[in-house]
Symmetry: C2
Subunit: 476 residues, 2 copies
């Protein structure tokens, strides 16, 4: 939806909008039952006054193309002069509504959308700023690539073997003992979760996790019928896990937890490992932020795994470039072969060129160099943001000094973080990741990212965030 | 599984094999209940005599690590001296067996496996020969790429906008009128099917298709609970479609059908379109071979789609490089937005670099140049293979002269094409795609590909195929 009316045209803006919406319906693009964006959103999109949008919509309602449903919004009608089209078209809306996969939460759809707009200040984004990506170096490395004749064909089920060898050498440094047959290349960590969901779990399986978790903001497991269950990592944990009635798995982000930034101690890792071992529950260890610890990292759970208990996930998305779409999954051969078989059925493997690039960066030592530089820059950004917080936010919020990664888990003293707060910030062109997408009960936190926005934007965005927060707190 | 015993070692081959298998089990890699490959397969893998494998397995059975199950094969035992490991390990085998997604058919797993071996002659592969891929040109084009700062970040839900614009211009030449909001970039055509399966169909929906179809060799729909239903495209079709009791979709490959090579006439396309329109059933038009027609193509069904009925799938996998993993899905905005939302939940978008490469090839005109050259080379290969067929196979089989693409749908006069036939050819290092993976009832056909093997291999492979076929026919 990037169309805007032409201000140089002889036709009025309102008339252009009417014509455009009519065209969307006529060509079968907006199907019967489609809900229109809000007037506010349309006004933003068309870059016109809200009253112009309102008048256009009124006229379209008058001719029966649109209809208002009380308390719900404006829809494309089912029985209108364009009946002819609708009767021959599949009832797409029904197809969509009854299908298997859940849509993204609305807040997340909005985040995905607004992240595409250059004017937004992105205070929540889980992504490196363009200026932190080694774009020139990646371009340069493209010139050093030369492909074996077979490199650009379909990949083997587990992915480029040279890359798998390089990954084994790479994770050895953090204490993981793996061989190429234990590795499956995936198109990012999210795909690894997807493969585990459909390839290892029966319907109704339990996915244990902490109450606040990245996994609540996506739903690879829920979409295929798994139950999410939040647990405390306390003395009862082993018992809770053992008492489960169904197949289960434990999802953990022990290093630089997303969104809280927590780093587990070696003892905490050991405790979870032993509890899961006693209950014979696999652990999914999501370790995509490992490289970004400001201080020396503690070995991951996978490093203490002597019995093939842990499925370990890594990625270059948080470090080198999300655009490469390359991650890896490490586990017992039997499991990896199974998941690779499903990956072949899903997308016939990951981009061969992306795999070659990652291989080149790992083998040449460029990756390690880049990481050490990146950590420094992230540390500087973290310091910068924390200084602003200390100067401004002490009265309204609390936080921990980040130990690495992208995020500060900022806790407002009052539960002000709701959808309205989120939307109010969007109006002021500031995009946040509210805590409630990671824990539906949480209205205190936001995931503040110092990794994406420029220093100037961080300063300005935090200023606006502060103003909105103070305004909201006045209600308490 | 690429390990082989070391012939220079002082340890006997048999002892090395015993140690290696024991290590697989001890490290929790081959979990309890894992079925071992057959003795023949192990002997092939280890490059030793079958008797060496047999003796090693006997010894491992004697010490209780392995067990034979009558008529089924050899398995890692559940109750053995390695009980200690097994009791703390999750019961992976149960996880795998009860999970949602079906494994690939065994024949297809074998094909995926053997395709990795350089010594095999691949007579069935649906992939361009390395020599037909423009590898040097792709390498050269990498040097011409320069990325916008944001190009290497996470992609927008529908993919690179410039690429979507270029695709719209590209498909316009075949009569499809699309705008960027109608396009979603996918990681190959298979992912498009996957997204449709989970994003548009309810459980138990019907997927209509022809009785012989590529779709029978994969199962994106079956794995999520859809019913496949074969139909004839005859006079009863409209009635059959209308009488369905459930949600449905029609999957069609009207241009260079995989595996039969059929090309529908304009009238056949029109008939299907109208039948589906009357029944209000969406059509999935899989058109990934469109570019490879030797003669001028007839416009696709999508070109006659005035009501948003057709979901159109294209790809560069069959033309430029499967390793790029780039395809596209074109449909009504409402549907495309829905599928893009699910794509974001699946893998956060396709490789940005692959997208940039395809954009560059489309925009620069390199793609069209390459295609015209490619068609010529495929035509030459088709002629070459057909000449061998005419000289040798007239007595045992029949076929149609291919109109483009990769395949000849070779029909043996007798139903000799079964799993044993497939395995016998593997032993002679020839890999075929037997017809029964596209239609379980079919034991007459193989999908003969002239696109992959070298001219020499084609000659030699067809010689071996002929010998095996004659041998099998002697039984009739």
């Amino acid at each position: 939806m990037s169309w805007q009316p032409n201000r140089q045209s002889a036709t009025t803006l309102q008339q252009q909008i009417i014509q455009w919406i009519t065209a969307q319906v006529e060509r079968g693009d907006w199907v019967a039952g489609t809900k229109l964006p809000t007037q506010r959103q349309l006004a933003l999109q068309f870059d016109v006054n809200r009253s112009t949008v309102q008048q256009a919509l009124e006229e379209l309602k008058a001719i029966g193309l649109l209809e208002a449903r009380v308390g719900s919004g404006i829809y494309v009608t089912h029985n209108s002069w364009h009946t002819l089209i609708q009767q021959t078209q599949p009832n797409w809306q029904t197809y969509i509504e009854t299908s298997l996969h859940k849509p993204n939460y609305h807040t997340i759809q909005l985040i995905n959308d607004y992240e595409q707009r250059d004017e937004m200040i992105r205070l929540g984004t889980g992504e490196l700023a363009p200026s932190l990506l080694p774009i020139k170096e990646i371009e340069a490395s493209l010139q050093e690539l030369s492909f074996q004749p077979k490199a650009l064909g379909y990949s083997s089920p587990q992915g480029n073997e040279q890359l798998r060898i390089a990954i084994c050498n790479y994770v050895k440094k953090r204490g993981i003992d793996a061989e190429p047959q234990h590795v499956c290349i995936v198109s990012g960590a999210l795909q690894a979760l997807q493969l585990i969901a459909v390839g290892l779990l029966e319907q109704g399986s339990i996915v244990f996790q902490e109450s606040t978790s990245y996994l609540n903001s996506i739903h690879p497991f829920q979409s295929v019928g798994m139950q999410m269950m939040s647990v405390q990592r306390d003395k009862q944990l082993a018992q809770t896990l053992t008492q489960r009635k169904r197949q289960a798995v434990f999802y953990a982000i022990p290093t630089l937890h997303n969104p809280t930034g927590d780093v587990w101690t070696a003892q905490e890792k050991r405790t979870l490992y032993e509890a899961c071992q006693a209950a014979r529950i696999p652990i999914i260890e999501d370790d995509v932020y490992h490289e970004l610890l400001f201080e020396a990292p503690v070995p991951p759970i996978k490093a203490m795994d002597s019995s093939g208990q842990v499925l370990y996930i890594g990625s270059v998305s948080k470090t080198l470039s999300p655009g490469l779409r390359i991650g890896w999954l490490i586990g017992p051969t039997t499991v990896i072969e199974r998941l690779a078989d499903i990956k072949m059925q899903t997308d016939y493997g990951s981009s061969a060129i992306s795999q070659e690039i990652v291989l080149h960066w790992l083998q040449s030592g460029k990756y390690d160099q880049h990481l050490s530089d990146l950590r420094q820059q992230l540390q500087q950004r973290a310091d910068f943001v924390e200084q602003i917080l200390q100067e401004k936010f002490q009265e309204v919020a609390s936080w921990q000094t980040p130990k690495g990664g992208f995020y500060i888990w900022l806790k407002f003293h009052q539960p002000i973080v709701d959808k309205e707060f989120f939307m109010r910030l969007i109006q002021r062109q500031v995009l946040i990741n509210p805590g409630y997408i990671y824990n539906p009960q949480d209205h205190h936190h936001i995931r503040l990212s110092y990794a994406y926005a420029s220093y100037e934007e961080l300063w300005e965005g935090l200023e606006i965030l502060y103003e909105c927060a103070v305004k909201s707190m006045d209600f308490y």
